[in-house]
């Protein structure tokens, strides 16, 4: 009886440990995109994974990074172990504790410290910075595996080799090194594993255009349902699992060897060799696939899910520029990165008020319209609107535009929706999604109260703040990109959303409806700009020109469903319903009650941020 209980208990513990992974693995084989709904077995996600150039690129980066970091860390760890072993006992224990601390230190602290160090030294983040960071956090793991082997080794062994006629070099390579080789190998595998699955430190120290698998998974997953990422995560888990099995096998291997005959290299050596061969061939294969008409690089920084990936490939094919494409979630996040000079980009797609702010803070380079002949396709009314934040259209070319409104599920909401007030209705407590960005949140509150969405009046802002705080208990979540999934999957009834999202969501779930409330709202324009410190301005201009091509704009519109300012592209839209859609291209009556965001100045930003923090920290009852 007790025995059974013990087994059940053990089973529960293991289940508890591995259940999340099991769910992940199962999901990666699920034909359905919707979690928790089994729709048959499929390998499609794995196929898609291997056909995705950016993921394959991330894989290449990951492998090169892990290999270099672990080789360097192992070499340094070996030398350090030998030196530490020669130290006096007291010094030795101090040094060992110092080297152990980074392992226990919070990863986020290490990551942040690295970023500060690099940025502080004026080094812009790139591959080398990630590599340095990886080497650093791998060294303690290398030491942890190698040092005990060195300690274990008879101190006289090296002397014995000298005694038998070996030179110092021979003694080291023929005796010392082979003796501690099992430790070196497990140190290497451990470092490799650590580097392979690191996310936080990589995320903070990587330069533009550098993605490892884990940062790739992160950027992809936060945008919504991506079963390919489940597949990728599964593969990553399996890889790490296998590596750890190898590491743990090594000691047994030795015992086996002792009893057995000579000459047999241990499995671990074999495994390490295979590992390296595999990496080199994989990297070689991926590199080989790279295009041959390469003439330069362009680093693009855009919103998540804001382009048809096919367009990137077309651009590369047509121009010969290699695109390093990265995504941000909010204007503010992007601004921090650019203003710090932490990463360099060539072309960015901020929103109106942010463009104004970047002009104001002298971060942008004026555009050379001679290099953008396709500008003629952009409707003059949009160019005109853009002068509201970019006087004279000197710095930006409109890319997408739209309104902010309410998306609701008609099966959950019976009444007619035409006012922001419904977001403050207790009836819908727990099924409301708000935007997590400061301006959009205040847009809702200020519009509802009948104030300008660019107000700097403290009384009005206080009122709006109190309104948002009082709304907090009703809100299911403050989200950004996840709005789509939640609404499509019917897990929320109401949400604040951009018009472009609404079109896509309606396609996925016909029960959804979008409305711009009568009180008015925000009309926004996102435009391409080139940062002042861009090193590839020519490529950036080529990119902007390419985006203004009607066929390309159409592809993007079909993919992301945000309204395009490209008149020529709009005429090419085949679907009559969409071409005339009020959501995609609202009439004058809607636009007339909407306002663009203006840059509020430093003080204005601080004011809004201050109030927004109050909302964030207010206790929700």
């Amino acid at each position: 009886m007790i025995k059974h209980l013990k087994r059940i208990y053990m089973g529960l513990v293991i289940l508890f440990l591995y259940l999340p992974i099991i769910v992940l693995v199962v999901s990666s084989f699920n034909n359905s995109k919707i979690l928790g709904k089994w729709d048959g077995f499929t390998l499609d996600w794995y196929k898609e994974l291997f056909n995705n150039a950016s993921i394959m690129n991330a894989l290449k980066t990951t492998l090169i990074l892990a290999l270099m970091a672990s080789v360097i860390a192992t070499a340094l760890g070996t030398l350090a172990s030998l030196t530490i072993n020669k130290m006096k006992r007291s010094t030795r224990s101090v040094v060992m504790s110092i080297t152990n601390i980074p392992m226990l230190n919070a990863e986020i602290v290490t990551a942040l410290a690295f970023m500060l160090l690099f940025v502080g030294l004026g080094i812009s983040l790139n591959f080398a910075t990630v590599l340095i960071a990886h080497v650093t956090f791998c060294i303690p793991y290398a030491l942890l595996n190698i040092y005990p082997k060195v300690r274990q080794m008879d101190n006289n062994m090296y002397e014995a080799a000298l005694d038998l006629g070996a030179s110092s070099a021979q003694a080291f390579f023929k005796v010392t090194l082979p003796e501690i080789m099992p430790g070196i190998m497990s140190g290497f595998l451990m470092s490799f594993t650590m580097s392979l699955d690191d996310f936080i430190i990589t995320h903070f120290t990587r330069g533009s255009g550098i993605d490892t698998l884990s940062t790739k998974i992160y950027t992809e997953v936060r945008k919504g349902i991506k079963p390919e990422m489940y597949a990728l995560s599964t593969l990553l888990f399996v890889t790490v699992f296998v590596l750890l099995l190898l590491i743990n096998r090594t000691p047994n291997e030795e015992k086996r060897r002792k009893k057995l005959a000579k000459g047999k290299k241990s499995h671990a050596t074999l495994a390490m060799g295979m590992c390296i061969v595999l990496i080199i061939s994989a990297v070689g294969y991926i590199s080989f696939r790279d295009d041959s008409n390469y003439i330069g690089d362009v680093y693009v920084y855009n919103w998540g899910e804001y382009i048809d990936p096919e367009v990137i490939a077309l651009f590369e094919e047509e121009t010969g520029y290699k695109v390093h494409y990265e995504e941000f979630e909010t204007n503010e996040e992007m601004y921090t990165i650019i203003a710090n000079g932490a990463r360099n980009y060539d072309v960015i797609c901020p929103s109106d008020y942010m463009i104004e702010k970047m002009i104001d803070t002298d971060l942008l380079a004026p555009l050379d319209y001679n290099a953008i002949p396709n500008i003629k396709n952009i409707g003059s009314e949009y160019m005109e609107s853009a002068t509201g934040f970019d006087p004279g259209n000197r710095y930006s070319v409109p890319y997408c535009w739209g309104t902010v409104g309410i998306c609701y599920n008609t099966t959950m909401i019976d009444e007619e929706v035409n006012s922001w007030s419904i977001l403050f209705d207790e009836k819908y407590s727990g099924s409301i999604l708000m935007q997590a960005s400061v301006r959009d949140a205040y847009c809702v509150a200020l519009s509802y109260l009948g104030y300008s969405i660019n107000t700097l009046d403290e009384m009005q802002l206080k009122e709006a703040t109190n309104l948002l705080i009082s709304q907090k208990p009703l809100v299911q979540a403050y989200v950004i990109d996840q709005v789509r999934d939640k609404m499509i999957k019917n897990t929320a009834a109401l949400s604040v959303i951009y018009s472009g999202e609404a079109i896509y969501m309606q396609e996925e779930n016909p029960d959804l409806e979008y409305v711009v409330p009568d009180e008015g709202s925000n009309v926004w324009i996102d435009g391409w700009v080139i940062p002042k410190n861009s090193e590839n301005k020519e490529a950036a201009l080529a990119w902007i020109n390419f985006m203004c091509d009607p066929n390309i704009a159409l592809m993007n519109f079909n993919e992301i469903t945000y309204s395009t300012p490209n008149i020529a592209a709009r005429d090419l839209i085949e679907d009559e319903y969409i071409r005339n859609s009020q959501i995609a291209f609202p009439g004058e009556s809607v636009l007339s009650r909407c306002e663009v965001y203006n840059y509020l100045g430093k003080d204005g930003d601080a004011l809004y941020d201050g109030y927004w923090t109050k909302v964030g920290t207010a206790a929700s009852e």
Partner: protein, 357 residues
């Protein structure tokens, strides 16, 4: 045999403030089994390591075969060392271990194979070629270490407490084994130990060391029977060491009683130390003894009984095959030849030190 193979001249060595060797002079003759004996910290291992080339002396010279090798690295010296913990290469098989030095010396494969066979036979471990080093017992590993050294045909084998890690029975077997090996190979052994019994059993010459000085050098018999000072006497076997007075030539007063002895030339009424081995103390009827005492302890030791006799305020250690029960009054006599007279120590260094091993 009289040829000085190794000659250490004025060797001094210190680690930081610790003086380990102080102006040491020592020579080793060809084909000799020389043992450096002493408590830990006496400098014996350092002496060996200086000969091996693992340490360099602060001053002094190491002459090997009439050549100054003081600055020669270990791999250039024609001698090999057997380390206390064997230092076998655990990632290699036994054969690879033995072949190590020969491969470095670029010997032919057939030569190496022959040597491996020969060496394994010599140490009675034929057929062990393909075993891994740490699958062997301590004694076997030690023999492999010896095999690994001797295939290089060194002129001298340095042995650093090679039996220290073995248990008693194995140690005794290995002692005979080493003597046999030395006789078969005809090479010089320099042996370091703190075990006086081991030293007495195997050596041609024993060098007793303490605190960086040589206390006495001589054959085992000389060292045992005629220790030159209290340290040597105390370190080699059990002894009764008694502060006494040399009355005149051949007469010494021990604990108030006059004993006959054979020593001369100490002068009259000179304070001396007297060493009497416990097996040399004879117990007789009280009236027959030079002095009288009472048996206070008795232990059976196998070969003999060990007794403690209190006489004239001194506790005499006595070994005898005859049992004398506790409480018996006895007389003590000592054959004049068995009374060893030593000068009182002149320097602190000659004082007996407490042994920590």
């Amino acid at each position: 045999m009289d040829n000085k193979l190794i000659d250490l001249q004025g060797i001094s060595k210190s680690y930081g403030k610790n003086l380990i060797l102080n102006n040491l002079d020592l020579y080793i003759k060809e084909n000799e089994f020389l043992t450096l004996l002493g408590p830990s910290g006496c400098g014996k291992t350092t002496t060996l390591r200086i000969i091996g080339g693992f340490e360099s002396p602060d001053s002094g010279k190491v002459i090997f075969d009439n050549q100054d090798i003081t600055d020669l690295p270990p791999n250039k010296r024609h001698l090999n060392t057997i380390f206390q913990k064997y230092a076998l290469f655990t990632h290699m098989t036994i054969a690879e271990n033995i072949a190590f030095g020969l491969k470095i010396a670029k010997k032919s494969k057939t030569y190496i194979d022959d040597k491996i066979k020969y060496a394994l036979k010599l140490v009675n471990l034929d057929g062990f070629e393909n075993r891994m080093a740490d699958s062997l017992s301590g004694g076997q590993q030690q023999r492999i270490a010896i095999a690994r050294a001797i295939v290089n045909e060194p002129k001298v084998l340095l042995l650093d407490e090679p039996l220290g890690a073995l248990d008693l029975k194995l140690r005794q077997d290995m002692q005979y084994e080493l003597i046999r090996l030395k006789n078969e190979l005809g090479i010089t052994f320099i042996y370091v130990t703190h075990d006086q019994e081991e030293a007495l059993t195997m050596s041609d010459t024993i060098v007793v060391m303490n605190q960086g000085y040589i206390q006495q050098m001589g054959t085992p018999e000389m060292i045992y029977n005629e220790p030159e000072n209290a340290f040597v006497a105390d370190f080699i076997g059990d002894s009764n060491i008694i502060a006494s007075t040399m009355i005149e030539d051949e007469v010494v007063e021990i604990l108030g009683a006059k004993f006959k002895c054979v020593d001369k030339g100490f002068g009259n009424n000179t304070p001396v130390d007297v060493v009497i081995r416990p097996e040399d103390v004879e117990l007789v009827e009280p009236q027959m003894g030079t002095i009288q005492g009472l048996v206070t302890h008795l232990i059976f030791k196998g070969v003999h009984y060990e007794m403690e006799v209190e006489a004239n305020g001194f506790k005499w250690l006595v070994q005898s095959t005859k049992l004398v029960p506790v409480g018996t009054r006895v007389g003590i006599v000592v054959d004049p030849f068995n009374i060893q007279i030593m000068n009182k120590p002149e320097s602190e260094d000659e004082e007996a030190v407490t042994l920590d091993e």
